[in-house]
């Protein structure tokens, strides 16, 4: 699969795909003899994982470390476990912040709704 096809399939720009590979956020992609990227199933799985992690806000740095550990073999399994656990904690904290903010937004939105119906805005900020 060419970089163009991967770019379209996952809605990630070609530049970003090359960037991910360059910084080590995904392992080196399979190439043709001419040096052109030819994404295999495994390469695609890494791209998909990277996209998922990034979309949640997980830092590029964490993915780079994870890829590095994975390439170092089984001995790094405890380290990988720890890394993923830490990232999981971080995401859970982030979700809690979003939930708190959503509650506030809902409250404000509700007040604006009432204001638009009745013409009265209570407790403005």
């Amino acid at each position: 699969m060419t970089i163009k096809e991967v770019s379209e399939k996952y809605d990630i720009s070609q530049d970003t795909l090359r960037y991910y590979e360059r910084v080590g956020m995904i392992p080196l992609v399979t190439r043709t003899t001419g040096g052109i990227r030819d994404y295999q199933k495994e390469d695609l799985a890494w791209v998909e994982l990277a996209k998922c992690m990034r979309s949640a806000g997980l830092p590029v740095e964490a993915m780079i470390e994870y890829v590095k550990l994975t390439q170092e073999g089984y001995s790094t399994i405890p380290a990988r476990f720890q890394l993923l656990t830490e990232q999981k904690e971080a995401l859970m904290k982030q979700r809690a912040k979003i939930d708190a903010t959503l509650e506030r937004l809902n409250y404000k939105i509700g007040r604006y709704e009432i204001a638009m119906e009745t013409g009265v805005l209570t407790w403005d900020e």
Copy 2:
């Protein structure tokens, strides 16, 4: 309340507090005759709101627009309603992405746990 006290109370650097005011993410803060910031209850409420929104990842730009609308009076209530509703949608999407990523992390973490107990790693990425 001085900027130092506000900084400590909300755990936001003084630089950031000044930055928030400068870019209009919070309205202009009350000053002493000497020109020094003296945060009043209302100023603090804005700081707190800004902190909450930013911690959830809501863009600074959105808060700037919201503050601007608020200062333009009641006629902007529908616009404020729309702005907050859009930001709410964005946060809900972000939360969904976090949830999807958390599921994947949990799956991987579970597999690493089993690997550490049994020495066998199934279905590696």
